[in-house]
Symmetry: C2
Subunit: 250 residues, 2 copies
Amino acid sequence: MKINILGFGNVGQHLYRAFSLQKDVYIAQVYSRTKFKQSDPMIPFVHEISKIEPADVQIIALPDDVISDFSKKLSFTNQLVVHTSGSSSIQDIHNTRRKGVFYALQTFSKDIKIDFTSVPICIEGTYENDLKTLERLGRTISKKVIEINSEKRRKLHLAAVCVNNFANHLYDVSESYLNKHAIDFNLLHPLILETAKKIEKKIPREVQTGPAKRLDKNTIDSHLQLLKDNKTLSEIYTVMTNSIIKTHHN
Amino acid sequence: MKINILGFGNVGQHLYRAFSLQKDVYIAQVYSRTKFKQSDPMIPFVHEISKIEPADVQIIALPDDVISDFSKKLSFTNQLVVHTSGSSSIQDIHNTRRKGVFYALQTFSKDIKIDFTSVPICIEGTYENDLKTLERLGRTISKKVIEINSEKRRKLHLAAVCVNNFANHLYDVSESYLNKHAIDFNLLHPLILETAKKIEKKIPREVQTGPAKRLDKNTIDSHLQLLKDNKTLSEIYTVMTNSIIKTHHN
């Protein structure tokens, strides 16, 4: 299968890396507006949209707000063009009837390699044949390929923001807080990992613990007292605590 | 080393299990007010405080708010008595000069086994010799034993509440939301695990991603629109999003 990767940011680079290891996938072109000073000479870069030549699948891996404009500039009218966004609709793709989505439900950071094997690939397509192509493409890198429409994908992406971006921000504010008091944040790593692993065995509601769950007002008050000069963290503490109490004691 | 475990809730049971596997530790007595109908006949239960006989270390594994009263009822005046609480002071222990703390920084749930090897054991003591005893005891189950005073332990516990209880609540509200829309929460497991693992390699601030980090107002608005009938989740969404924006764009 011949593919083009259009965009070479976080998602584009991770997809490039994953597909370049698959013998059944041939990456024909990689579009990047930027010319990188140092980059792998093996990568078949093109830097102008007009130079993109049709492959079996063109994967747009660009920011949500440019998908629409970028796809309008593609000269294809009968090629499969997909984007990789969780929150954009399949309808954001233009200039082709053969629209699709190839959304990898994972968090991509620079310099951190991803094993795609267990990453859910959420696909969407207008035509049955294109869906089959996307499923086959997805299966080259992942065991889990599922069809999901734009509306549900948007909701899934919202939940992903909560468990990933918001959880990471909780780690961040905790790290800042401990740092300020000369306490080693790394001590929390085993706890963070166990919290994440636990819900593979039980649903989150069943394994909720802590002062809010126990309605332990002494501890809650003592924590808020510690946070009285920390507006950011005390706001988060209050909202999360109230929400846990409402969930478990209403 | 001879120890007593006083209290047989979540923490008591997990400590019992961990110490019972150590050849250098002998569990002399386990205090539990409740008589369990079905329980391991090997566990040396006592059900009356007056029947507790001194061991090298008495570990109180009871709710924070009863530590003080319970320790007053102990007849010891010269024995090492420690509690296992993150947020209680060492001074909550009475009737002995030899007070201490043995706080395992981990989340304990029923039916989920814990490998203590990497769990930080935070110890505190009044006397150097007692600290040595607690360190030796901690090392039988964990590679990581650190001395930390009550004030710092309270802050560590607060951070633990954020990364564990609050993160789990984020998983919970996401699960409820996806459930309501017939979307499989399990799809998020790889993302949740990756989010937790990532910060072992980089600090959380560096790996923050998502719409708030990118100041992607379209996606944020579209999420809040999706949540307009979900007061709980939209409050959490707003507070976390604002805090991420403040952290990364101020």
